[in-house]
């Protein structure tokens, strides 16, 4: 089948929240915009599963300095504070954009404070009954729920429905954005050192798509390795890998994310019961039946708990308090309608009663969801001219090594999406687009479809399984150590050099798997090399061989880039002096207090 060619000013890759903000902003600035999505723009992406968004607004009494301090404490001085300020200051305008597109939010009930707080019996899921479109300046329902000293400032608003992106889709179509669904982008095309286009294919009919464009906004989400957990598996670091191959700098890639899952139903996240319903009397025990939360002061639970297992005291259990389930039915129904997965239904179907049954849990390594990606400046420009990045594909370093500020992923997606769309539209205004020759297009077809024509060799399923077996055991990416990171890297390099060139795709759907494992291998290599380089621990980044924060040597960001010879080059960039906090404070005060529950 001959490739189909499209010409546009701005090509937006990925139809999540970041992609929609970018596309709509660029279109409203006068650019011709095409959005391409591997699935269906409107029901895909992590954005579909997210419930809430951080929202700061001074008029509602929020204190900028308090919110900023929370980010910095949780980010352990690795945040880009310029981006933190931008997110806080511009989130409100993006919220108003979404209301204007027709996205509903939870409204504040008359007579409530807006912050029911910890004393509310049912936690986060059920504090307002009304969904609608807040008027300008009307404060919607907002919620705060972190209780430690440094985690109580920021607040979130709640999206009114799960299919919120469908409203963005309607808006995008109404202003003349062309949306192409079920097309997976595989490669960027450069001419004269700048972006000239991109290529991909339709996962249903195998058609090759070639785009000639002035700028690309990479908004195709984060890097996951299709882990245990749910809903994250559509994103496999495609944007990061495409950008890397095109020569763009990556940053924040050494940091990773783990999530707690129920062992027997490992597609269920177990933060739901405690955080969402407020089952605060439930507790966690180790293999000996002991509660072990008392001495978590110096480490985040994401590290402290796996360490318990590392010491040989596993496995870990969730112990129910025996709450009366009937008190929660309403809350659960609402949760199912508006949020992530219907996890209570899921647990019920697996025969586990979360209110009464003890169940085993473990930490699943997901990949790099929030912290890292294509390094961007405040215009969302990457280091490749014409390539912009937004949302989880972008490395703004706003969060640092820990994701602790609720709702900041969606706020970041909206704010970076808007900026990327705005500056990409400005950029394309100044230049003519390129036209590819027939010979070039035939080369692109080969690059996209090659693995399908091969017909024999290793299966994509095998490569995926080998990647997962290499990265998922806790001792590789959760409790890290140089020798184990190097061993994992050796395997990933073997997959890159030996397995991948001999891997084939069995049909068009499997060709998607092929490109996904190819991208995951790039992501894994960057992630492991940068993790080996960072010889310290910070936030969720824990090195057994360097268990303490090293302020003298590691108040730095790591930057990875493909060198001229194709080998990866690594460098560091110092965190500005004024962002390093009070270095004279004792270690305990500077770092540990944030993990301690506030005295009642």
């Amino acid at each position: 089948m001959a490739a189909q060619c499209f010409k546009t000013d701005v090509l937006v890759v990925g139809g999540g929240l970041a992609g929609f903000h970018a596309a709509i902003t660029a279109r409203e600035a006068g650019a011709k915009v095409i959005m391409v999505e591997k699935n269906y723009s409107g029901t895909s992406g992590h954005s579909t599963f997210a419930r809430d968004m951080m929202l700061f607004h001074e008029e509602w009494g929020d204190c900028l300095q308090d919110w900023r301090d929370q980010f910095i404490h949780i980010g352990e001085y690795i945040n880009d504070q310029e981006w933190v300020d931008i997110l806080l200051k511009e989130g409100y305008d993006r919220f108003r954009d979404m209301v204007n597109w027709g996205m509903p939010f939870y409204l504040r009930e008359p007579g409530t404070t807006g912050f029911p707080g910890d004393d509310h019996p049912y936690g986060n899921a059920v504090m307002s009954d009304k969904i609608g479109f807040p008027k300008p300046e009307e404060e919607p329902f907002r919620y705060r729920h972190q209780r430690t000293k440094y985690r109580k400032s920021t607040a979130i608003i709640k999206f009114g429905k799960r299919e919120k992106l469908m409203d963005a889709r309607k808006k995008a179509l109404s202003i003349g954005i062309e949306i192409i669904d079920h097309v997976m982008m595989t490669e960027l095309i450069k001419r004269d050192g700048r972006i000239a286009g991109a290529m991909g294919f339709n996962t249903r009919d195998g058609g090759v798509y070639v785009f000639e464009c002035g700028a690309v906004v990479m908004a195709c989400g984060s890097l996951t390795f299709k882990p245990a957990y749910f809903s994250v598996q559509c994103n496999t670091g495609d944007g990061v890998a495409m950008g890397y191959r095109a020569g763009a700098e990556l940053t924040g890639m050494e940091f990773g994310t783990g999530m707690w899952v129920c062992k027997d139903v490992d597609s269920v996240t177990i933060d739901g019961p405690v955080a969402e319903l407020g089952l605060t009397e439930d507790c966690f025990t180790n293999g000996k039946g002991e509660e072990f939360l008392d001495d978590t002061a110096h480490l985040p639970t994401n590290i402290h708990w796996p360490l318990e297992v590392h010491k040989g005291k596993g496995p870990l259990f969730h112990e129910p308090y025996n709450y009366d389930r009937s008190n929660f039915e309403d809350a659960l129904k609402k949760y199912d309608e508006t949020a992530e997965g219907p996890w209570l239904t899921m647990m019920d179907r697996a025969g586990i009663d979360i209110f009464h049954d003890r169940f085993e849990q473990y930490m699943s390594f997901i990949g790099n969801i929030w912290p890292g990606g294509l390094k961007i400046n405040t215009k969302c420009e990457t280091s490749v001219p014409g390539l912009y990045a937004a949302g989880d594909s972008a490395g703004s370093n706003f969060t640092g090594p820990t994701y602790g500020t609720l709702g900041s992923g969606m706020c970041h997606a909206a704010v970076t999406g808007h900026r990327a769309g705005k500056f990409a539209a400005e950029y394309v205004g100044e230049r003519d687009s390129v036209t590819f020759t027939q010979a070039e297009i035939r080369e692109f077809e080969q690059a996209v479809m090659g693995a399908l024509e091969r017909g024999y060799g290793f299966t994509t399923e095998h490569v995926l399984t080998r990647i997962q077996q290499t990265l998922f055991p806790y001792e590789v990416r959760i409790i890290m150590k140089e020798d184990r990171l190097k061993a994992a890297l050796t395997m990933i390099e073997f997959f890159r050099d030996h397995l991948l060139p001999k891997t084939y795709a069995s049909d068009f759907r499997d060709l998607r798997n092929y490109h996904e494992v190819r991208n995951m291998i790039v992501g894994a290599e960057v992630m492991l090399k940068t993790a080996i380089m960072r010889q310290e621990s910070r936030g969720w980044f824990f090195r057994e061989d360097y268990p303490r924060r090293d302020d003298e040597n590691w108040l730095k960001w790591i930057i990875a880039q493909k060198g001229q010879d194709g080998e990866m080059t690594l460098s560091t960039q110092d965190i500005p002096m004024e962002w390093r906090g009070d270095l004279s404070l004792p270690y305990e005060e500077r770092y540990m207090l944030q993990y301690r529950l506030e005295e009642d």
Binding site: N39, Y40, G42, T43, S44, G45, T48, F49, R162, E163, D181, H182, T203, R204, K226, P227, A228, F230, S231, Q233, C234, G258, K263, D264, V265, D266, S267, V268, P306, V309, G314, P315, D336, G341, P342, T345, M346, M347, R349, A350, Y362, M363, S364, F365, E461, T465, Q468, Q469, F472, P473, Y474, I478, R509, R512, N513
Partner: protein
């Protein structure tokens, strides 16, 4: 396990699930005008299809077909 069934009697052929699946598991049978499970091994139990189906035709079991290496056991 994973997406287990799409009830042909209940399915009204709206194709919502065919679009909503984030892993491209479900396809549309043009002759029967019904949604069909084509790649069950790719299903990661996100429930996007079941939650969005207007006629309650889909049943997803929360345990995947494809085992994933656990962090510890």
């Amino acid at each position: 396990m994973a997406i287990e069934r799409i009830d042909k009697e209940k399915c009204i052929g709206c194709q919502k699930c065919v679009d909503a699946c984030i892993m491209d598991v479900i396809r549309f049978d043009e002759t029967e005008k019904k949604a069909v499970i084509k790649y069950p091994k790719e299903c990661y139990c996100c429930y996007n299809c079941e939650v969005g189906c207007p006629s309650g035709a889909i049943y997803v079991d929360p345990r995947r077909l494809r085992p994933i290496t656990p962090a510890w056991s």
